[in-house]
Symmetry: C2
Subunit: 319 residues, 2 copies
């Protein structure tokens, strides 16, 4: 009998969530551990593997589990390592061979990649990209991530780290300064943080009346902009139009690269889809090379937020 | 016995060149026909296939030939068709299923793609990208073309037309007007024509003395700029520095996409490599995302100009 279950592990900066998933993308058993309560990768791998083994025991499915997939910050698909994850104490500045460590401690084969690549494999396995061989997932969260599938395979590059479309610098020449040390990266405009920055810029540059002007210290979040837009705030809607325009321009270039059947939007900011869809589509139509016009669908992920990351990671184990 | 020869066909706007090639990339027999002397695709396919059949007859290698590869303008790898090639009378505005037509008339399996993709497969089979699984070929000619290989496979996209990196628009926001109808495309800066445009711009904007000022009507070609640089002309060298800087910025974004082991430069303008290499490398180092820094080699194609196109096309037939 072929094995019918996989384990998905979503390693976040705070918690790590573990689920046993069936081929229809249903999470049957679930548990979690603290990501931060460890000083070394060894200690984290011990705790994680123990949680996995306990969950497997509880499920009674051990012989029917095909393997483990892990989505992790700075995860390298080719090597199964976490590479210098700045936000995780025990992975800062070093390379942790987590896939191998978990495989050794659980006796399951284990694959690992970054969150956006896991999302892409998840969409291909259980989501809106089911059956597609060429598509790109763009994760719009605090930053912007991407997972690129071409010819049915994840593009991982020669070093396992390909697909950093949040850091294409060409969005605006000498544009906004990015956390990566360069200027003009897509994520300085099109992430949740990018939307906050746009809000602060628009408020100081424009005279449009806006409820956003009432927010103390102008510490405006993308959620504030969304809520203002929901109340018909003109400036808030302008901010989403601007964000969508820049995303559409960037997508035009992504399409020139890999000519995907669809671009799938995923992540927190994708919650503002109702304000982003139209400006993205309009900008894409205006900016895409003629030969590709009208060929690439814009889709919103239908995987549920909390479950999506586990499902994405679990999908790696079917590969 | 496995078949040890392939046929490469390079379809140019004027001539179509046909060669029988061995596994070491040597062209053993060669012939050519006129591309333009035909009113229909049928007539062209008849003449081309007759030339192939005659060459095969002459070689006495019929039973050892594995197949035919064709490199053609607007060639679609997925469908084997030529799609609306504006510069070829019998292919203007229509789709010509040339691979199938040639296969029917020669009894060899036949693959077809555009020139830049053929160049990429050629570099992987016989050239500097031998053994690489992730690389990008950039053809710097009258325009800029590209062939992208990821995980050992050509990226062709869902419609067979992926890899139009000459038309990423983000090089300069609202930049130079391109023949494609948009603005800011890479090829408006980094092609032979782009270099001419830079020369005209620099001559009118700068006071630097230059022998290029003597050229009548300022109808300066990239060859003029190269020759001036060879004589130490400061402005000519500035023009190549500018071209290289823009290429380096674009390459930084290509690397964020597919993290290639190498970017291979090919085509007429690559003849100015001695003036382009340093500014491209410098700009790439300054602009590439930290995690990719120093990882991607810049290489110049070593395939000989006249033969390269036949070899590239022939390499498709080994796939």
């Amino acid at each position: 009998m072929s094995k019918q279950y996989v384990i998905g592990i979503d390693m976040g900066g705070t918690n790590t969530v573990i689920g046993i998933v069936n081929a229809r993308g249903e999470i049957l058993y679930q548990t979690a551990i603290d990501t931060t309560a460890h000083k070394t990768g060894e200690s984290y791998a011990d705790a994680l593997s123990e949680a996995v083994n306990t969950l497997v025991e509880k499920s009674g499915l051990k012989d029917q589990i095909k393997g483990i997939g892990i989505g992790a910050p700075n995860g390298n698909y080719k090597t199964g390592t976490i590479e210098k994850a700045a936000n995780i104490e025990w992975a800062k500045g070093i390379v942790v061979p987590l896939a191998q460590m978990v495989s050794d401690r659980t006796d399951f084969p284990c694959k690992l990649t970054n969150d956006a690549n896991a999302a892409a494999v998840g969409e291909m396995t259980y989501g809106v990209a089911k059956g597609m061989k060429d598509f790109i997932v763009i994760t719009l969260g605090t930053g912007v991530g991407s997972g690129i599938v071409a010819g049915g395979e994840l593009i991982v590059g020669h070093d396992g780290l390909a697909g950093e479309l949040g850091h294409v610098i060409s969005v605006r020449h000498n544009g906004r300064v990015c956390g990566c040390g360069r200027s003009g990266c897509l994520e300085t405009y099109a992430s949740a943080n990018g939307v906050s920055r746009s809000a602060r810029e628009f408020l100081s540059e424009k005279d449009t009346p806006s409820s956003l002007r009432n927010i103390i210290d102008r510490s405006i979040t993308s959620k504030d902009v969304f809520e203002a837009a929901e109340e018909g705030d003109e400036l808030a809607i302008e901010i989403f139009n601007y964000t969508g325009r820049i995303l559409g321009e960037a997508f035009a270039d992504f399409i020139a690269f890999s000519s995907p059947e669809a671009i799938v939007l995923f992540g927190g900011l994708a919650g503002s889809w109702k304000y982003l869809e139209e400006p993205i589509q309009k900008s894409l139509d205006e900016n895409v090379l003629n030969v590709f016009k009208g060929k690439t669908k814009l889709l919103l992920s239908e995987l549920k937020g909390a479950e999506a990351a586990i499902l994405g990671a679990s999908a790696l184990a079917w590969e």
